[in-house]
Symmetry: C3
Subunit: 207 residues, 3 copies
């Protein structure tokens, strides 16, 4: 459980940074920074815990998590102007947080003895739901929908790695999952890796 | 329970098709298709199960549901270009899925012995929440808010049918509910049926 | 519990009014009014109850709450044209509902014996989540994100008041919380009170 808890902490910290960076783009006040940081940081894990009926949910069991997220928000509030380009900082931090969160979410489902499809779903939900909530609340185009970029797809392959490696141990599975997710996402951002997208012919119009 | 389960399967399949069609409009890759299909297909039912504290929620109890939704996504990924007009296909499929989902949701509440208002709410939530999540995530104007078209209203009358007919048997109530919902929605789309909408005079401006 | 229940009723009524006013801006039909009123009225409390694992959630335990919200929707459907300026009516009602809902949410967490951070979060969630859902569904810029206005911040300070005063009694804490929240929000709207917002220098562009 300790390794899984550490993963949860790490993803909370990094997602909180991305939430606070979105708050800096929207020029909110410091409480707004904390709100966006906490929403992004615990949104995916909260949904996971509600769906798996884990009780109490992770940040009620351990409110330190909220302190970590709030600390990240304060850090960004006072230092975001030091970043040359906030948007690319958001993207790379988000990739790291995605990798860690997918590993944490799918690992928890494995620890519960869930079957492979549920492990996959929990990896994707824990990885993608917090950032999705951040983007929906901030009225930005959700990253998960950015056309022609791998995002949900990375989480999906990360979850698949957890499923395949989980027989060899939880730590190995977590490492494999985080590595696959991050490499896929980084490859997509740096080298333009992508899956073929749907290219519909424009619908024929009736004459 | 079997009839209710079948209804859940059918609504999952059809909602998944509409989610995948929205993914085709956004030109996502195949994992994006699966994501949107699953979100739309199980979103409403997941919310219903969380609120009614049904445990485990339906697609964790039966992961086949996720396979059905993913299959629908793959089908659309390879065949959506065959549809002449994807948007009208979305609308009509959505009407069918709405009818089935309202019947499933309100039927489950009746089976739990909930009072009439909760039956109504669960019908509306199961019917409307998945499509609402689909539209919010895809950044489209939610169908439930399309001005002057019946949508939530159809779900509401469907739920009312369940309440009125449920004394005669679950199958009868499900049939009545689905029929009322679909006829109301189809009438709204084909013949322009609607309830009077709010027509406020423009607010007077202070001189 | 009675005082807390009364607070829940009051916030349901007022939030329902704001939801119905948003429905009037979107010119929905009467069922759309009821939908938006109920979503706004019970959204925050539903999320709170799911996260605190209170079972059944408050409006399933007491469906009268749905009747109150629906009644508010009908009232607005027939009388909204009497309001000179609907938007400012939404803002002021929302401030009152926020104050009451933060008091209700943080009070329930205190009654459960939760630690201070969870009390704070439950105050903010109960106060802000319903209005946030209303704005996201209606495709309006979320009030919680309005740049340079106190909103989440007011809920936060209200929750803080609950934490500080809760040793003196639940009623005193509720009153203090509602007063702090409302005064902060009213001061923000009427006198422009605000916290310093993040003012980043525009990111330097590479030469």
């Amino acid at each position: 459980m300790t390794a899984l808890n550490l993963l949860d902490y790490a993803s909370v910290l990094i997602f909180a940074l991305t939430g606070a960076l979105v708050a800096s783009r929207a020029q909110l006040d410091v409480v707004g920074f904390v709100f966006m940081a906490c929403l992004t940081a615990v949104g995916g894990g909260t949904l996971r815990d509600l769906m798996l009926d884990r009780n109490p949910i992770f940040w009620i069991a351990d409110p330190t998590i909220l302190a970590v997220a709030s600390g990240a928000a304060l850090l960004v509030f006072f230092t975001a102007h030091l970043l040359e380009s906030r948007y690319s900082a958001i993207l790379w931090l988000d990739a790291a947080a995605l990798a860690v969160a997918v590993a944490a979410g799918s690992g928890i489902a494995v620890a519960q003895g869930q079957p492979a499809p549920i492990v996959l779903v929990m990896g994707v939900v824990t990885g993608c739901a917090g950032g999705l909530m951040r983007d929906v609340v901030a009225n930005e185009l959700p990253l998960v929908l950015k056309q022609g970029e791998l995002y949900v797809t990375c989480a999906f392959f990360g979850g698949l790695a957890t499923v395949l490696v989980s027989d060899y141990g939880a730590a190995e599975a977590g490492l494999a999952c985080a590595a696959v997710t991050f490499v896929a996402r980084a490859g997509s951002m740096a080298f333009g890796w992508r899956l073929p997208v749907y290219k519909g012919r424009p619908p024929r119009t009736k004459p």
